[in-house]
């Protein structure tokens, strides 16, 4: 504004000021590329380039409540109001994976990657090698059938395709996705795929390590606002609201609700298991997530095959059921004549007796069945009228060819799915399970993260059974298809004969096979029985000899469960799935138990009635350059300093208003106190008069970006705004003592030493709009995006300054 001065420099370069179609409620910059993801009021997710070109838009269908990028920038996690967390691809927004880990809206997400490379020092393992690529072909994908895809399945096909892309790209570095919901539940998952922990804030016992050992504190009615993992994954800071109550005695006699300290609190959870056991968790998560993907491939394959086969069988039965109707009709019309009235030669007579024995197992009622009719036709008797009519008129040569094409085509499709999808998937799962079994036997390393040898061995055995059953099924399927095509060949010949046409150009058939077909396959469907999951409890009959052989094989290291041949493929698959669930639940529960609450700091009081708080807050971790102690390098302590900043609501404290608080050093305070000093420091920043805080964000190198609006007393909201960067390390922090018990709001103590910010002294950029939250700041890219109330977006480059030369705006 002071143009008299010599060339004054405006902080932050304005990239552009563009209009928006709708108001934005969430915005996050991609950490690796210059892309901005935004969520509109009507829950559409948009991705824009730095030049504001829109890349894609998607609508998940439910309200989006939180947003977070994968640390390598290749995927984005979206938290939804029904508790699901969806991962989308950065290129095109395709849904990669959806995890339903919460029951209520996911309020906050944080995705952090391990800051250091896995070092190969003595005692720790070098980077893990995934041996699968050396021994096995690339993993199969979910089969896609042309024309058989319903709307639903089509969507799934696309997502399954990029399933593997997600897993292969995300498995470069160890990373953890942390999500918190309104009910105080925090879920953690490795790569965003493999669930590894679940913590309920309400069950966290806050240790009060200081004076009174008897006093335990707990939170009631807690709701989480923000979660932030430290860069070495050792600590998790949770900002939540709730009621802090104390338990004075040892008994479970909690104070009545309402007498505790209700307000906003900051908790530190000890997640050092992720640092200590990084290699092991990485390996297990890698194998487990691949196994889950392949299980999905098998499940989809089985359902597609089941559907295809039942469609084909329906076609077959539709066509051939008309024969039984014809027979019944004919039986009603004429007397029950013997179907044969020709003079049989002796040879044919004997043959016919044989057939009679065969068909004695059929139901012999007043009406003969279709099979009987066919058998007698095969036996050489003259065709009965219904059969004749059926074969020549209703079915015809064309009909037979059509049904044959359907059935045999379905058979071929099933075989293809088996060979290309099901069988390779089962084999790769078997290999990976074997790797996990080897890991689980290394008890010293892996038992502590919950890899249980018995459960994993059990799961490995189940996979082995599936592999055997898949082979068996393949043989059965081939035989069934062969018999069907043989039957159809025979029918074609019969039809030609009946129509007195030449029949020598046809394919040969085997009469015995036709008999077997008619006896076993005409009205039964063993293929469907094996595939159909609704029929899964069906027991397959196995001859005694085979069962004996299976039992003998146990001595040689065969499967201890001898009944597996009697189970259908579908049932075996279900059992395999549940064994996987059981096996992978163990790490989940073991790790969850190890994440405990280390410390709690009450921040500011809030009114007791549940009000959805929209207090701007930001948590970040910075490397502690001052900690030169080398001994800390190998441990989880002291490498990163946490900064927690938030706006203090005006009605929380009587004499603190229009202030922003910054707290640092909280994560290691409990350890510091044991060593005799305190690391917790805080300060209160009073914002310049006439401005109030809209949003804030911690930036790189301990700087904080504040977005302020002018407080206007007039009714028109046409005030201006400004964006300010404050270097926090320059400011005088006050050490906070923790000597008293947790029943006072610590910030209250700071009211004497409030630091007043003046616009002239700080790096401030004026914004000619009235702005609204959110403020999207990227530390790695050095950019910020501000949204104005009048539906505009302004993008600034924070690292460069603008020369205020008289240039036309």
């Amino acid at each position: 504004m002071e143009t008299d001065d010599a060339q004054r420099v405006l902080p932050f370069q304005l990239q552009f000021d563009k209009p928006l179609a709708s108001q934005i409620k969430l915005a996050e910059w991609n950490p690796e590329k210059d892309l901005l993801a935004m969520v509109t009021e009507d829950s559409k997710l948009l991705l824009h380039r730095f030049n504001w070109q829109r890349l894609w838009t998607i609508s998940p269908g439910r309200s989006i409540t939180s947003l977070c990028w994968q640390p390598d920038g290749k995927a984005i996690a979206v938290g939804l109001e029904d508790g699901a967390v969806s991962l989308h691809d950065v290129e095109n927004g395709k849904l990669l994976r959806s995890l339903k880990s919460h029951a209520v809206a996911v309020v906050c997400l944080n995705w952090e990657e391990d800051a250091q490379q896995i070092k190969g020092d003595s005692g720790s393992m070098t980077t893990y090698e995934d041996r699968t690529s050396r021994f096995l072909p690339p993993a199969p994908r979910v089969p896609r059938i042309q024309g058989l895809v319903s709307g639903d399945a089509g969507f799934m096909d696309d997502s399954e395709d990029s399933f593997q892309e997600l897993s292969s790209s995300s498995q470069q570095r160890f990373n953890i996705l942390c999500s918190g919901d309104r009910d105080g539940i925090i879920c953690l998952s490795i790569f965003g795929i493999f669930p590894i922990g679940k913590i309920n804030i309400h069950t966290c016992h806050v240790p009060s390590s200081h004076i009174d050992q008897q006093v335990k504190c707990q939170l009631l009615n807690a709701s989480i606002y923000k979660v932030a993992l430290s860069k070495d994954l050792c600590r998790l800071i949770v900002m939540c609201s709730g009621e802090l109550v104390k338990n004075e005695e040892e008994s479970e006699n909690w104070q009545m609700a309402g007498h505790g300290m209700h307000g906003s609190h900051c908790l530190v959870l000890d997640t050092s298991i992720f640092w200590n056991r990084k290699n092991e968790l990485h390996q297990v998560a890698q194998q487990a997530s691949n196994i889950e993907e392949l299980t999905e491939v098998i499940r989809a394959s089985l359902s597609i095959m089941s559907k295809q086969w039942s469609d084909a069988m329906n076609t077959f039965h539709e066509k051939f059921d008309s024969l039984s109707n014809l027979i019944i009709d004919h039986g009603n019309l004429t007397n029950q004549d013997n179907s044969t009235d020709t003079f049989l030669t002796l040879f044919q007579f004997f043959f016919f007796i044989l057939f009679c024995e065969l068909i004695s197992s059929f139901y012999v009622g007043l009406d003969s069945s279709s099979q009987e009719e066919f058998l007698s036709l095969l036996g050489g008797s003259r065709t009965s009228p219904p059969v004749h009519q059926f074969l020549v008129n209703s079915l015809g040569e064309v009909g037979v060819k059509r049904v044959s094409k359907v059935v045999c085509g379905a058979g071929k499709e099933l075989q293809l799915i088996f060979l290309n999808h099901l069988q390779p998937a089962a084999e790769i799962i078997g290999f990976r399970m074997g790797e996990l079994r080897g890991l689980s036997r290394w008890r010293a390393r892996y038992q502590s993260i919950g890899l249980d040898e018995t459960l994993i061995s059990n799961a490995a055995e189940k996979v082995g059974m599936i592999i055997v059953q898949v082979e068996w099924f393949m043989t059965l399927l081939s035989s069934v298809v062969l018999q069907f095509s043989n039957f159809f060949n025979w029918l074609l010949k019969c039809i030609r004969l009946l129509m007195s046409e030449p029949s020598d150009q046809l394919l040969p058939y085997n009469s015995e096979l036709v008999v077997i077909f008619l006896k076993f396959l005409y009205d039964q469907d063993p293929v469907r029985q094996l595939l159909e999951s609704s029929d899964a409890d069906h027991i397959i009959e196995i001859d005694v000899e085979t069962m004996q052989r299976v039992k003998e094989l146990v001595q040689f290291g065969g499967f201890s469960d001898c009944g597996y041949l009697q189970r259908t493929l579908a049932k075996q698959f279900h059992q395999m799935e549940s064994s996987f669930k059981e096996a992978f639940l163990m790490p989940f529960t073991s790790i969850s138990k190890k994440i405990v609450c280390m410390d709690l700091l009450p921040l500011f009081p809030l009114p007791a009635s549940p009000v959805s708080l929209a207090v701007p807050m930001s948590v970040s971790y910075y490397e502690d350059a001052s900690q030169a102690a080398v001994s800390y390098q190998q441990s989880c302590q002291g490498r990163f300093v946490d900064y927690v900043s938030f706006q203090v609501p005006d009605d929380s404290f009587s004499n603190i208003s229009n202030c922003v608080a910054i707290i640092r050093g909280f994560t290691h305070d409990s350890i510091a106190i044991k060593n005799g000093y305190t690391s917790l420091e805080a300060l209160l920043l009073c914002l310049p008069d006439g401005y109030h805080c809209v949003d804030l964000s911690l930036y790189k190198e301990s700087q904080i970006v504040l977005l302020l609006n002018e407080t206007t007393t007039t009714s028109e909201s046409s005030g201006d705004a400004c964006m300010m960067i404050v270097q926090a390390t320059d400011l005088p922090f006050v050490s906070i003592s923790r000597s008293t018990c947790m029943d006072s709001w610590k910030l209250h103590e700071l009211k004497e030493c409030i630091i007043h910010l003046q616009l002239e002294n700080e790096k401030v950029r004026s914004i000619p709009h009235f702005v609204v939250a959110p403020l999207a700041v990227s530390s790695s890219r050095g950019v910020a995006c501000i949204f104005a109330a009048r539906k505009r977006a302004l993008v600034y480059i924070l690292e460069e300054d603008e020369d205020e030369v008289s240039e036309a705006e």
């Binding site: 070098t126 041996r131 074997g434 080897g438 008890r443």
Partner: protein, 186 residues
């Protein structure tokens, strides 16, 4: 294909020869070139388990060169332990456990009282497996180490039990025709 399998067999035999060299001669380093050759060969032919057992031989070699190589030997073993435990036979697994424990115990910086389970667990697994195999020589070694560890931990009854088992296996080794040697319980 035949050429490869023949070469593979030859190399495998070479590895066995290396073992024998090492055991028979006092100088462990004689086996070194053979072990290294086997390692590179196995790597190029994806013979992971054979490579793992070659690495195990290397670790034993390092260990026999002195206790300041204990850490190196330990990291070698840790690199191949999943393969050995997952796919190896009982004898190989037991050998790996025993060498791992020897690495820990040779390391001057390692304290048994601080982390006893790190040596006790592998020893228990090794001794169980060797009992099943009735591989007396190695079983005796496993029980010997176990007794030493229990002694350091001050767990005297466990020490006595391990020592008894050690004696039993030594005597079985010396009397291979299965005379029932009376076990003295002290």
């Amino acid at each position: 294909m035949e050429l490869k399998t023949e070469a593979g067999l030859r190399r495998a035999r070479t590895l066995l020869a290396a073992n024998q060299f090492r055991e028979r001669s006092g100088n462990a380093v004689l086996g070194l070139p053979y072990a290294l050759a086997s390692l590179s060969f196995c790597q190029s032919f994806n013979l992971d388990l054979l490579r793992a057992s070659a690495v195990l031989t290397m670790a034993e070699l390092w260990l026999s060169l002195g206790s300041n190589h204990a850490k190196r030997a330990l990291s070698l073993i840790h690199g191949v332990l999943p393969t050995i435990l997952g796919h190896g036979g009982l004898e190989l697994r037991a050998r790996a456990y025993i060498v791992e424990v020897k690495c820990y115990l040779s390391d001057p910086n390692f304290s048994v009282s601080e982390s006893p389970e790190v040596v006790l667990d592998p020893l228990t697994q090794a001794s169980d497996e060797l009992q099943v195999l009735e591989y007396h020589e190695l079983a005796a070694e496993a029980f010997y180490l176990k007794a030493i560890v229990f002694d350091k931990l001050g767990r005297l009854p466990d020490r006595e039990e391990a020592a008894t088992s050690f004696k039993k296996h030594i005597m079985a080794l010396e009397n291979p025709h299965g005379e029932d040697s009376p076990t003295t319980m002290s």
